[in-house]
């Protein structure tokens, strides 16, 4: 086990609510690390709608998901938070009163006084294509991500999808695979045009196959895939021989390990009390889309409010001996100093 990273507060989820919580905690002198399963900051704003306009952020008539993320990052810069991306929190263990040891799937360990769950709809995970019986082949013949390319040497690979992941892995794995077939439901790809061109060249040169259609069934035994049945756009059925399938169908939100952290759950949401948005476990808070309480609205602005109140209570845990005096950023010279504007 690696040495534990010590911090006042660990935030799980780097979406807008997690980011703004850094600001509110920072004003009260609490240091923060954030963990997010995505490879980028911004949560749903970055993953689902980076270019879509948001109209209900107070004081900002129109901002895109990406724009809001960038603005929040600018706003929390003075507090210098540390981001741990591409990592998923797996377990939270109580080690103090309050105090927690938090472990990620990358083996990283944090020790903190306070945990803030701002995990939105849960963790983004690869979408499982709706093919009957696919579960039986997962992690033996069916993979949703490529961790080590070498694993796929001399394999007969079926890659499914038409986006950048599908095309990039087609091109990257092509030199080491025995044979690659790319399958997509239409002869039109949303991936970057130059990757599509490269792929079409390989097809034209007879170095790989391109099929248009959708997988309807898998053939094989004991987790070992031997072929995929495919329905073409003309409804004609065909069989593609393969021992490995890599489906790239984007991401979906799943509650994931949140369910294993000893927190009360209600319809996959975490109930909190509304004075500080603390969960049933003292020292663990839940803010943003993942929490629930009477009257809850899943709005970014509600998550901001929840973060501000959470920070007040978190302060009591992190600095049990310090009295908290409520101050405004407009007039308090000590807050302005923290923000680096005075």
């Amino acid at each position: 086990m690696s040495e534990a990273i010590k911090t006042d507060v660990l935030i799980i989820g780097a979406g807008p609510c997690g980011l703004f919580a850094v600001f509110e905690l920072g004003l009260l002198d609490m240091k923060v690390h954030l963990v997010d399963i995505l490879d980028k900051i911004g949560g749903q704003c970055a993953e689902l709608y980076p270019e879509k306009p948001i109209y209900d952020i107070p004081g900002i008539p129109l901002v895109t998901g990406q724009g809001l993320t960038e603005a929040l990052l600018e706003q929390i810069k003075p507090f210098d938070p540390t981001f741990h991306l591409n990592e998923m929190v797996e377990s939270i263990e109580k080690i103090g009163d309050p105090g927690f040891r938090v472990t990620t799937d990358a083996g990283k360990v944090f020790e903190c006084k306070v945990v803030v769950v701002s995990a939105g709809g849960g963790s983004f995970q690869p979408k499982r294509p709706p093919v009957p019986g696919i579960e039986a082949y997962e992690n033996t013949s069916v993979f949703y991500a490529v961790r080590k390319m070498e694993q796929f040497r001399d394999r007969e690979i079926l890659i499914v999808g038409g986006g950048d992941s599908a095309l990039d892995w087609t091109l990257n794995l092509h030199p080491l695979a025995k044979r690659i077939t790319l399958l997509h439901r239409r002869d039109d790809f949303r991936a970057a045009p130059h990757s599509v061109e490269q792929m079409r060249k390989l097809v034209a040169d007879g170095k790989m196959d391109l099929k248009i259609g959708q997988v309807t069934a898998l053939e094989g035994a004991d987790g070992k895939l031997s072929a995929a049945q495919v329905k073409g756009s003309d409804n004609a059925m065909s069989t593609i021989s393969c021992d490995t399938m890599l489906p790239f169908f984007g991401l979906t939100m799943k509650l994931g390990p949140v369910a294993n952290w000893g927190l009360q759950l209600e319809n996959n949401l975490i109930p909190v009390e509304t004075a500080s948005f603390e969960t049933n476990v003292p020292g663990i808070f839940a803010i943003g889309d993942i929490n629930t309480y009477p009257g809850k609205l899943k709005l970014i602005l509600s998550g901001f409010h929840e973060g501000a109140l959470m920070a007040q209570k978190a302060h009591r845990y992190v600095y049990p001996d310090k009295r908290l005096v409520f101050q405004y950023t407009t007039s308090s010279s000590s807050l302005q100093k923290k923000l680096g504007v005075n």
Partner: protein, 106 residues
């Protein structure tokens, strides 16, 4: 108000009223029509409000935009009459529209 008919996988039809300008997805969500998940809330960013437009209506409803086609790549059992219901705006022209909800969204 405009009537929209949702046929579920077993063939049962639910008819709901919705005002013009709303989307077929919103009509489903507001009336708790099963099988429409709309995970992203109507941003054309998932593919969990996928429906099949009844053959008699495909011309009136029209074709998906390229962006919607991209998202349909993530759908289950996508057919030529597949649409994302969050991208179909309700108007008088669509009064009585029939859409079928797929067996599963993803």
């Amino acid at each position: 108000m405009t009537k929209i008919n949702f046929v579920d996988h077993s063939g049962e039809t639910r008819t709901v009223d919705v005002e013009n300008g709303a989307t077929v997805m919103e009509a489903a969500i507001r009336n708790a029509v099963p099988g429409i998940e709309a995970e992203c809330g109507g941003a054309c960013a998932c593919a969990t409000c996928h429906v099949y437009v009844d053959e008699a209506w495909t011309e009136k409803v029209g074709k998906p935009t390229p962006m919607e086609e991209d998202m349909l790549d993530f759908g289950y059992d996508v057919r030529p009459n597949s649409r994302l219901s969050c991208q179909i705006k309700v108007s008088d022209e669509l009064d009585g529209l029939v859409v079928t909800v797929p067996e599963r969204q993803a």
